[in-house]
Symmetry: C2
Subunit: 340 residues, 2 copies
């Protein structure tokens, strides 16, 4: 109709149009779209029908600009090899969306692009950044902190000693102690710990805790090996190399893996390349409880993190305004299946 006023932009229907159609002011229109607004049921109804007819929905960019609150978080991820990340993405996006938050997915795998990507997210004025990657401690984390626009920087499912950071994770020490106790109780004698990259101190926690617990209980120091990435293929190779070099009587009777990705690669290797049985010849324990762990072909004993609770807590943290110390660890549980 009046396409004069629609100057440059492709005739967007705006709150003004709806206001005109509904016979109210623009502000009433926008109020109709907020749940906790003071508006009479009548006018809300009028507005809504008019809006429906015109195909109007509020523009979140403008809302964000005006309110200085974007309801957007950046999800930084640098690990696309571990299927468990997919589970985390699902849980996080779901929990966030439930409370009206949107998720900007930022790929920081390529270290060159990581800093620009983070900067870019900050230019979208995200309200927080969530890290669910691996190698964040160094450059990436620093870049994220330097782009000082993140009101909150949350490390999810990993501990971090950085004080500028909110860490939401499972209690690794408690978890690993539980695993060690289980291994002991089941009568295993020669555990081997298969760890991920050793570069970052936080990653050593499970390894150290396991070694400590075992030493304390038995006096023996368990062997351990580590791989450069959390990759089942690398785990498979590392396990093969170690195990095939050992005479049968010197073989570990259980391999405790830092996570399920490593555990699955290990099981595959034990069976196919070494021709041994799991758990009869060598048992395996993982960590995370990925979907595959439940498969009849793995039946992996593993430690499940309460991801949903953690995600919900994360959203609570986002919503709360105070600037207190939000760090929190959760307790998961050992899921015992047939692999150990």
């Amino acid at each position: 109709m009046d396409d004069e006023k629609k100057s440059r932009h492709s005739a967007n229907v705006t709150a003004d149009d709806v206001a005109l159609a509904a016979g109210v002011s623009r502000w009433t229109v926008n109020r109709a779209f907020k749940k906790a607004a003071s508006i009479s049921p009548k006018s809300r109804e009028k507005v809504m029908t008019a809006a429906e007819a015109l195909g109007y929905v509020p523009d979140l960019r403008a809302a964000s600009l005006a309110s200085d609150r974007s309801n957007l978080v950046a999800l930084l991820i640098d690990d696309f090899a571990n299927p468990h990340k997919l589970v985390m993405l699902e849980r996080l996006t779901r929990a966030l969306r439930r409370k009206g938050w949107d998720t900007l997915l930022v790929n920081t795998l390529d270290r060159e692009d990581a800093a620009p990507a983070i900067l870019n997210a900050s230019q979208r004025r995200v309200d927080a950044a969530i890290l669910i990657g691996i190698q964040f401690d160094d450059d990436v984390l620093e870049a994220a902190l330097r782009a000082r626009r993140f009101k909150k920087l949350i490390i999810f499912a990993r501990t971090s000693e950085n004080p500028d950071t909110i860490s939401i994770s499972v209690d690794d020490i408690k978890a690993t102690q539980e695993i060690a106790a289980y291994v002991l109780a089941r009568g295993y004698k020669r555990p081997l710990f298969l760890a991920g990259p050793r570069t970052y101190s936080a990653h050593l926690l499970r390894l150290e805790t396991f070694v400590d617990s075992w030493q304390r209980a038995t006096g023996d120091t368990p062997e351990n090996i580590s791989v450069a990435e959390y990759d089942p293929i690398l785990a498979a190779d590392a396990a093969y190399k170690t195990l095939s070099a050992l005479p049968p009587q010197a073989r570990p009777d259980i391999i405790v893996c830092e996570n399920d990705a490593l555990a699955i690669g290990t099981i595959d290797t034990i069976r196919h390349r070494l021709g041994l049985r799991v758990p009869q010849d060598i048992a395996v324990i993982g960590f995370d409880d990925v979907p595959q762990a439940e498969s009849p072909n793995y039946r992996l004993t593993t430690y499940r993190q309460p991801l949903t609770d953690m995600a919900n807590y994360l959203v609570d943290v986002l919503e709360s305004a105070e600037d207190i110390d939000f760090d929190r660890t959760f307790t998961g549980r050992l899921v015992t299946r047939e692999s150990a």
Copy 2:
């Protein structure tokens, strides 16, 4: 300093502040941040140093609002079980970011929340929506189309007959014919096709093509079974049920799977639950070439989609303004390993 004018909002440093510090106008400041802007090297430098000192970066929300171009795409995904999706996320986010696009991750797994989530993305005025899920044909796709704000609706790595949609995918027919020819050439006699959900017509393409090709070449009609989801666990169960019911001489000598997730579950079952060898007793072929396929434990023969090319093409589509028919299929290649 002058915190009077910073009224409600937490003293954001804006282009005006930088302009003041650099002794230029606000417009010059913003020009300095666009690569293709007419600005003298001198003033750009002045602006940049001032910006650096003040910690200024342009606000993309405001830019988007003013220009009616968000440089944001919504990535709709409803499948978090297949690790291949993680690879797709990596490739897509990388290709997009390279050209200045950001990615909004929208979880449409929960059918209840799918429509609101899509609506919400449209309220962020994303420039396009990309679907990389599975069950999109019906409600979700319709919801996406109904939220008529997506300038482009792209179906990635899957064909779609919907005319309002841009489909970027691998040529399934060609690919499956190549697989069928390979199976034939390797001398297999009794193939079994393991398919995914049958609900959506597009998914039947590989199955139908394989059956057709095989019939044409041999006169025989291959058996086929299907599972309700692309889930290795379901595939494992289905394969077990079918194979264990068959006497050895009636067993298929090769199982052609609609994708790698199914193939991996199948291999696990053949080995562990049936105690048979791959490929000597039963060979297996997949589709996608997930990272696991390369593992020494699987060595899966599979069909690799040129994901990077496809992602780059997708970005090209986003950048081009014309409203032509962008549908395009790519040709991948059969990666032969030891599983078949």
